[in-house]
Subunit: 222 residues, 2 copies
């Protein structure tokens, strides 16, 4: 029952400055490897030893920082969501019509997906795992929290969509919820097919994000 609880603590603040540097670095390294493993082999398909091997370390190192495999997965998920939230939130902050804002948000979403493909693939997986009934109560709390964030994320888009309908930049006759789910689906699906081509420049990624976004906003009608 040793209360060595550095375990969870750091995750909560997650941003309380440099935090002694080396410590954070070690944790981030674990998260990175875990994200890759989970992405390639799935949650259940990944063993802690797999992650450790990839780290060039052993289980000990991982269990020193994370209570359980599920916790580790959640932390990767959380980090992925945080990056999405940050990018989209910033895009929403700048002004413009609803449609302009929505375009920027979607573009930011797509770009974040591409630049953090491992983390975001885990996020997608986590959403899919949503109805994974059999977990400990403690873990279910974490999962519910993540789903709550997810919901807030979707709400950002819904709000902007409605704002666009109000200012006339977005068509009135659309089912908002369905439209947003469709748009987000198109971008989220990138987690499945997108893999960075070697030597792909940020500018190329940005261009691709713009193109996929533009199609979602403007449709394909000729």
């Amino acid at each position: 029952m040793a209360k060595n609880d550095m375990h969870r603590e750091w995750a909560l603040k997650t941003r309380g400055q440099e935090e002694s540097g080396a410590l954070v670095e070690s944790v981030v390294e674990i998260l990175d490897c875990a994200a890759l493993c989970f992405t390639e082999m799935g949650f259940q398909g990944t063993s802690i030893d797999d992650v450790a091997r990839r780290l060039g370390a052993t289980k000990g190192r991982i269990y020193h920082y994370f209570r359980s495999k599920t916790d580790l997965f959640f932390e990767v998920h959380r980090e992925g969501m945080r990056r999405l939230m940050d990018a989209v939130g910033e895009a929403k902050a700048a002004g413009g019509t609803g449609r302009e804002t929505l375009t920027r948000m979607l573009e930011a979403h797509a770009l974040t997906m591409m630049q953090n493909i491992a983390y975001e693939a885990v996020v997608v997986q986590g959403v899919h795992m949503h109805r994974l009934g059999a977990t400990t109560p403690e873990q279910r709390i974490s999962l519910d929290e993540l789903m709550d964030i997810r919901h807030k994320f979707e709400l950002l888009f819904v709000e902007t969509f409605r704002q666009g309908q109000a200012d006339g930049s977005i068509r009135q006759d659309a089912d908002v919820s369905l439209a947003v789910k469709g748009m987000l689906g198109a971008v989220n699906w990138m987690a499945i097919w997108y893999r960075p081509r070697s030597g792909e420049s940020p500018e190329q990624q940005r261009a691709m994000a713009r193109r996929i976004t533009e199609l979602q906003i403007g449709g394909i009608a000729g």
Copy 2:
């Protein structure tokens, strides 16, 4: 080394008539339960005993028809893809402009997703598992075969898209591959969020399929 190979054989013909009825029925029952389990708990999260319990039977019944858990998963995947292919293929067969055809295909895709949500959720999962490196050579062949079908499926849309560009019903300036990936993503994502509301009529489902399709074709611009 008993060569009791009813195992795989039936799957290959898969369509050689009623096939003595009761046999097929038993297999289909297994596939249905497996689809539900895989959907709810994921591939690795589902044990053969889980599927058996849901069947009100034991492992024996399952291993009598399927060589391994992976085989069972693939068979569910295959069936899901078959249903998609059938629906979309039929939609493509009827004439019209490229855009009209593409609209019908996408609608059929969406509707099939809704009406076979368990199977199609497994399909989505299977696509995600694509790069599951560590399988037996035999299973990798199955997986590659499924990915090939998947690719052909996407090709159906790409062809129609190009046809639409040729006949002027679809804008010329779009990146075809990216556009199709986006559209399919929007619909595939339904596997994540869509669950049939109790008492939902086929007509309501059809309406939803139409709406989400129309948004993908026409965009949201006001």
